[in-house]
């Protein structure tokens, strides 16, 4: 039920109704972006954004830096493990 999937916004189709096209692994669908727009981030500026898609809505933007950091921790662990096993 709480299924969410990352996708990238590639087109804004209706700024008033806040509708955009998202691309998920090559599959496109219109979604609602009301949750992720505000004065600082109007619909037009959403193109290229990675978002988490849930039941036809972009629920949040995905924070690329945070994503990288999370994975970075793993790399560090791997490095430590490698060091240890050497």
């Amino acid at each position: 039920m709480c299924l969410g999937i990352p996708g990238q916004i590639i087109e804004i189709t209706d700024t008033k109704k806040k509708l955009a096209i998202v691309n998920v692994g090559g599959v496109k669908r219109q979604i609602n972006i009301a949750c992720i727009v505000n004065e600082n981030h109007p619909p037009e500026s959403c193109i290229g954004d990675w978002v988490l898609v849930h039941v036809g809505f972009a629920m949040n933007r995905i924070n690329e830096e945070e994503a990288a950091e999370t994975l970075q921790i793993l790399q560090e662990l791997a490095a430590a493990q490698a060091a240890l096993s050497n």
Binding site: I5, V24, G25
Partner: protein, 358 residues
């Protein structure tokens, strides 16, 4: 002979072109309109001596059959796919390939098919013509003939546009004995390419979910690929096309039928990125998605390399690969190896992934 000029016209008047734009109830009445439809749409397209005799049945000498082997294979499938036309294929091609494949997976050379249609009043005749042409194109490609058929027309609302049933017969060469009962622990599982394209293509083509993608159905005949395989290795243990219910269903059927376990490896299973995308969006699993040109075969490990190499050299098997192995316990269970030591059951489908995919 009488000289009345009208009398001379009889023959010409008997078989007519269909002029109606839409199928109506008279096309299924058993009368002239039906005769015209059969002649103008079906017989003229399928055109072969066995069909053209227009008896209630086609007849074939055993002599011509026995040259191909010592066993007859016999199968049937009905096709109710919605929509009728979808990226990569259509109901007509599907109705040929589906039945050809059900014959071919027994090792049989598919030879003759029937074509029985149920038409909804109001179906554009042009749509029917397209479908029938597509059937003939597929039949030619698969090397089979459509030799007998049937046409029914039902009231608007009593069917959805067009349903096709094809039954088929083929001949199994001597020495070929393919059956899920043959499966033994130690055998390996091979498939001929990416999974889920057909199911995903239909889902998108239906338009209800408003998804867009250029995924094409994998609908293709497998008989030539299989003939090549049997050529180098007649000792295939089991073979099945993974259609409704997908790979997971076929493997479970195998496991139950042979009272063995089967383990497959997630990382080894090819799935197109776009198909993965559809699955992620909708919470579907590509292992349960329908295919219409995907072969699952179980061979003794010692034949695997040889079989794989002949498969990869065939256009219908370019992406063939080994995806797993048969194990003795747990019996009747399919396991999926997730890659980091974890394994889980890959059960039969419960509920429905998608209706009306074939």
């Amino acid at each position: 002979m009488p000289q009345n000029p009208l009398f001379q016209n009889i023959g010409k008047n008997r078989a007519k072109k269909v002029r109606d734009k839409y199928i109506n109830l008279t096309h299924g009445s058993g009368g002239k309109a039906m005769r015209d439809l059969i002649n103008d749409v079906f017989v003229s397209t399928f055109d072969n001596p066995l069909l053209n005799s227009l008896e209630d049945q086609a007849t074939v000498n055993f002599a011509s059959l026995i040259q191909h082997g010592n066993k007859l294979a016999f199968t049937t499938d009905s096709y109710v796919v919605d929509p009728l036309f979808f990226p990569g294929s259509d109901i007509g091609e599907l109705a040929i390939n589906g039945t050809v494949n059900d014959l071919a997976v027994s090792g049989a050379k598919p030879l003759y098919l029937t074509c029985s249609v149920i038409l909804e009043e109001g179906l554009p005749v042009e749509t029917l013509r397209r479908v029938v042409k597509s059937m003939q194109t597929a039949a030619t490609k698969a090397g089979v003939q459509i030799v007998t058929g049937d046409t029914k027309v039902v009231h608007r609302g009593a069917a959805d546009k067009l349903f096709i049933n094809t039954a088929g017969i083929g001949v199994i060469p001597d020495g070929v004995n393919i059956s899920s009962k043959n499966i033994q622990p130690g055998d390996v599982v091979i498939i001929n390419g990416e999974l889920g394209n057909h199911g995903a293509a239909i889902l998108i083509a239906r338009g209800e979910l408003a998804l867009e993608s250029n995924i094409e159905s994998d609908c293709q005949p497998l008989n030539d690929l299989i003939a090549n395989i049997l050529n180098v290795c007649p000792h295939i243990n089991a073979m099945r096309d993974a259609t409704r219910g997908g790979l997971a269903t076929v493997l479970n059927e195998f496991a139950i039928s042979a009272n063995v376990g089967i383990r497959i490896h997630e990382a080894a299973i090819p799935v197109q990125e776009k198909v993965k995308g559809v699955c992620e969006i909708l919470g579907l699993d590509p292992l349960y998605l329908a295919n219409e040109g995907k072969l699952v075969l179980i061979v003794k490990r010692e034949y695997a390399d040889e079989v794989l190499s002949v498969m990869k050299s065939h256009p219908a098997g370019k992406n063939s690969c080994v995806i797993g192995e048969v194990i003795d316990v747990p019996a009747e269970i399919v396991l999926l190896n997730a890659g980091f030591g974890a394994e889980r059951i890959l059960d039969m489908l419960v509920g429905e992934q998608l209706p009306r995919i074939c």
